[in-house]
């Protein structure tokens, strides 16, 4: 029987799932609630501070990991959910799901690298 190609995607799904399970809610709180409402200081999400974070190697790696892994996790789950809903999951569906994750990983990587160190 042919070996499945699922493992790579499942591991990415797992990594993204674990990262989002551990820090997802906290990230949403910081970037989407506390940050914009100024609860952690008005300058937390201001351009100068965010630029500094993105220029820091750790900050860069973290930002890339969050964007990329969250999307690989979601892609895998959404793709399989389409199948669960009885929709035909051909190459177009595959591309629509995993293609977004790949494109986003590249876009985020390019954007973060362009900011320098």
């Amino acid at each position: 029987m042919k070996r499945s190609s699922q493992p790579v995607f499942w591991l990415l799904f797992g990594a993204g799932g674990m990262l989002s399970a551990l820090l997802g809610a906290a990230l949403v709180f910081v970037t989407g609630i506390a940050g914009p409402l100024g609860w952690l200081g008005r300058d937390l999400m201001g351009y100068p501070h965010m630029l500094a974070v993105a220029r820091n190697p750790l900050g860069k790696a973290f930002a890339l990991a969050v964007v990329s892994l969250f999307l690989w996790h979601a892609a895998h789950r959404i793709y399989h959910s389409l199948h669960d809903l009885g929709l035909r999951t051909g190459p177009l569906a595959w591309l629509a799901c995993y293609g977004v994750a790949l494109a986003a990983t590249l876009a985020a990587g390019v954007a973060l690298l362009s900011l320098g160190f």
Binding site: M1, K2, P7, W10, D84
Partner: protein, 247 residues
Amino acid sequence: MPDGAKTIRIEVLRYQPGERQEPYAEVFEIPFTHDMSVLEGLQYVKDNLDGSLTYRWSCRMAICGSCGMMIDGKPRLACRTFLRDFEGTVRVEALAHFPIERDLVVDASDFVEKLPRIRPWIEARAPRDLAQGEYLQTPDELARYEQFSHCINCMLCYAACPQYGLDPKFIGPGLIALLHRYNQDSRDAAAGKRNELVHADEGVWSCTAVGYCSEVCPKQVDPASAVNRNKTASALDWFARFLPGRG
């Protein structure tokens, strides 16, 4: 019926291929006592109301695995489900995700055909003669596979598994649990051959960890655990096969 006897309605999804094209519901009202199982209720119907009612059963004590069916929409053993736990009407239907043969009997040939494919037997490491005596196994070695050996092939997990329902090419929870039972047995050396099935799309990779299979298992085999542990192992093996020293 004696005066004052409690009655209950059993609504059966009938299917008589020679007589009608489609399945249809038929309601039987029967007297019941506190200790009657759904199986005994069906037996009352067959014995007293309609001899054509067709269903499988044997041990009536939850060990043979014959009487699996959908009871109020859940995969259950009829001999271990009691009429006293239902109000008014109990809906009974053939086990889900299998083609209905007749009334409550399903065509289980897919499961039966797959069973030998997982090599459900011990393949010894080396030929062994009687003079060597029996295999010795420590309690820890037994514990590695014992729960998975409790499977009674009732197929409730297949009725619970939507992935099997959506794609019957999936080997399925029960058979992967049985496969795992042999892989984990210290006497066995055939994991390599069995894992060919594990690594395939039809193997563990059809599973999306719904987990309902383990919920409905009457013997606490926990097939969901067997399948999903093997996902981790299969995923690591996907990379490990490139390492030097591997076949």
